[in-house]
């Protein structure tokens, strides 16, 4: 890794002991009794969980632990069987996914969803909120949206520059590499001016050369006052950037706490050993090679 500088960790986030379901001083997401089953299989069963504001939280766990399903539930892409959850005090139960996004909670996907046959700049501009030209009647007359569109383009170009995609602005997204698409997806999500950014495996399938820049981008989100919740398998990354770690196994939260302490907990080791016996968590320096595919 080229960047050896340690990011500033935020500590003292919780109230009481760092046990599963512990209270946070300033929670952004509060989840209660959320349960989802597929056929007979319980995918997610979370009693209580709070995600702290203004920091980077990692959601880890072996394959099939229900991390992506929880993501889908929280963002309205899937509906739970039971349970309630709220975002900054507003209940999100039954709120459709697009409204969740409008409220400032934006997500990315494990399998990158770049809009292939739109250009990079079109992908970016699509992300901007409150565009008057997106209403069908105003769309017909450029007078209503020309100026706003130009402003959005300026903002999009700034972000593209930051993500080093500015030279590709007129290319179709389909022509980008896998890592560039991840970057584009993240940049596009930032176009919505989110409060909470939820990243589903931002490092999966990314060329190691791009990993560091992606990490830096995630850390800088925190610097800009955004809250980040991400799913990741790469323990090195989790340890490096997360302020708080939530561990899931078999749909339940089995442990949570600051990264250094939580990874030593017996429940975490058990959870991982159950899935992947030869992994020694204490010695991990790179990506853990866990077979993907089941966790789609």
């Amino acid at each position: 890794m080229s960047n050896n500088e340690k990011p500033q960790k935020t500590t003292d986030l919780h109230i009481g002991d760092a046990v599963p379901g512990c209270k946070k001083k300033d929670p952004m997401l509060v989840i209660d009794h959320v349960k989802k089953t597929f056929g007979g299989l319980t995918a997610v069963d979370v009693e209580h969980l709070e995600i702290p504001s203004g920091v980077i939280t990692a959601l880890i766990g072996p394959n099939g632990a229900g991390k992506t399903t929880l993501f889908n539930l929280l963002t309205g892409f899937d509906t739970p069987d039971t349970g309630t959850w709220s975002f900054m005090g507003t209940s999100l139960s039954g709120v459709p996914s697009f409204k969740v996004a409008q409220m400032g909670q934006v997500r990315t996907f494990q399998l990158t969803k770049a809009l292939s046959l739109l250009t990079v700049i079109e992908n970016m501009k699509l992300g901007a909120k409150g565009q008057s030209g997106e209403s069908i009647f105003r769309a017909l007359f450029p007078g209503f949206w020309k100026k706003q569109d130009a402003d959005i383009e300026v903002k999009a170009m700034e972000l593209l520059k930051r993500f080093k995609l500015d030279t590709k602005k007129d290319d179709f997204a389909a022509s980008l590499s896998g890592g560039q698409r991840k970057l584009l997806e993240m940049a596009r999500a930032l176009m919505t001016d989110p409060t909470l950014v939820m990243l589903d495996e931002p490092m999966a399938g990314v060329n190691p050369a791009l990993t560091q820049s992606l990490l830096d981008h995630v850390i800088s989100l925190k610097g800009e006052g955004m809250t980040v919740l991400f799913v990741e398998h790469d323990m090195h990354m989790v340890r490096h950037i997360a302020d708080w770690v939530v561990v899931m196994a078999e749909g339940k939260v089995v442990a949570e706490g600051p990264p250094d302490t939580v990874m030593k907990e017996q429940a975490v080791i058990d959870a991982y050993l159950g899935a992947h016996q030869e992994t020694d968590l204490g010695e991990v320096t790179g990506r853990i090679n866990i077979i993907k595919g089941e966790d789609k």
Partner: protein, 330 residues
């Protein structure tokens, strides 16, 4: 063989009410499939509702022609809403089957003898373009009686009036689609075609956009049906699934994700049709083609089928489409 007449008749295929009707319907499909990625296999149903809405309002309710046409358009809006609200959540190929079934239901309802008084059942309706009370479309014809044009493009005042009116409607429709697709609205629609979940994650109400696209494309289809009906009688036998497939062929000929592609595709389709429908029977009567005249005219639809297959396999973006623009993402 009379090559002069074959050429003449082929050129005439460039500009007929039918060509304009096809162009409008194909434009509707471009909105649905090319831009929004909606697999609508029921465009014939939208056309039938436009045409019948117009004819029935004039004949049964005595409305003036322009109000009748408006009813046809409104009918297609209602049809799009009834069809779209429940089905737009379905996966692409399910939507295809739902729309083709809905179009067939519409056709069977126009065909049944149960509503003969209103629909004319199998015989269809006639006498609505010229009305004894002067409220018909042809009664408002500003063009004096006579013959206009030259060579293959010779029209009487009635056909000319349909053509002029049809071209105005087509121009407005093309402008409308063009204006929409260059706007941020069009960007959202194209995004939905690529990946609706991604667009949803950016806070766009995907369902509302899809419904808007379905309604707009449906209205274009209905306008096609109305122009077709303004030039002749209306008969349920026209609005079969083959009509839908011929319009798909026109659309794919020109390029599904383009503005002018559908129009050019419709023109190409009908010029080829006019050419083959003149050439093949002529070849058969002159003994070059060893088949009967009826068989010769069947042959051109065999060629349409083969053409459609070759087009989709080898040039799915259409003759004028950009190779990168449409690769049948789903």
């Amino acid at each position: 063989m009379d090559w002069g007449s074959i050429l003449n008749n082929t050129l005439a295929g460039f500009l007929t009410p039918t060509t304009i009707a096809f162009a409008l319907a194909a434009l509707g499909l471009a909105m649905h499939f090319g831009f929004a990625g909606l697999l609508n296999f029921g465009i014939a149903g939208f056309m039938a509702i436009g045409g019948y809405g117009y004819a029935i309002s004039v004949l049964t309710f005595g409305l003036p022609w322009w109000a009748g046409m408006l009813v046809g358009v409104l009918g297609s809006v209602v049809f799009a809403l009834i069809l779209g609200i429940p089905t737009l959540r379905l996966r692409g190929d399910y939507l295809a089957i739902a729309t083709i079934a809905a179009a067939e239901i519409a056709r069977l309802l126009f065909l049944t003898t149960a509503f003969t008084d209103v629909t004319g059942s199998a015989d269809g309706l006639f006498g609505f373009n010229s009305r004894p009370d002067g409220s018909g479309f042809q009664n408002s014809n500003p063009i004096p009686q006579g013959t206009y044009g030259f060579g293959p493009f010779t029209y009487n005042e009635q056909t000319l009036w349909v053509l002029v009116f049809g071209l105005i409607v087509l121009t407005v429709a093309v402008w409308f689609l063009w204006a929409l697709m260059r706007s941020p609205w069009g960007r959202v629609i194209k995004g939905i075609r690529e990946d609706e979940e991604a667009v949803r994650s950016l806070g766009k109400n995907v369902f509302a956009y899809k419904l808007q696209a379905l309604v707009i494309g449906g209205v274009f289809g209905a306008l096609g049906g109305i122009i077709y009906t303004a030039a002749q009688n209306i008969s349920p036998g026209v609005y079969v699934t083959s009509l839908t497939f011929f319009i798909w062929t026109s659309l794919l000929l020109g390029g599904a994700a383009t503005i002018f592609g559908p129009v050019i595709g419709a023109v190409i389709f009908w010029v080829i049709q006019a050419f083959l429908s003149n050439l093949l029977p002529a070849l058969s009567t002159s003994g070059i083609l060893p088949v009967s005249t009826t068989q010769a005219s069947t042959l051109r639809f065999v060629l349409v089928g083969i053409g459609l297959m070759l087009l989709v396999i080898y040039r799915p973006q259409g003759i004028f489409g950009d190779k990168r623009e449409l690769t049948f993402v789903k």
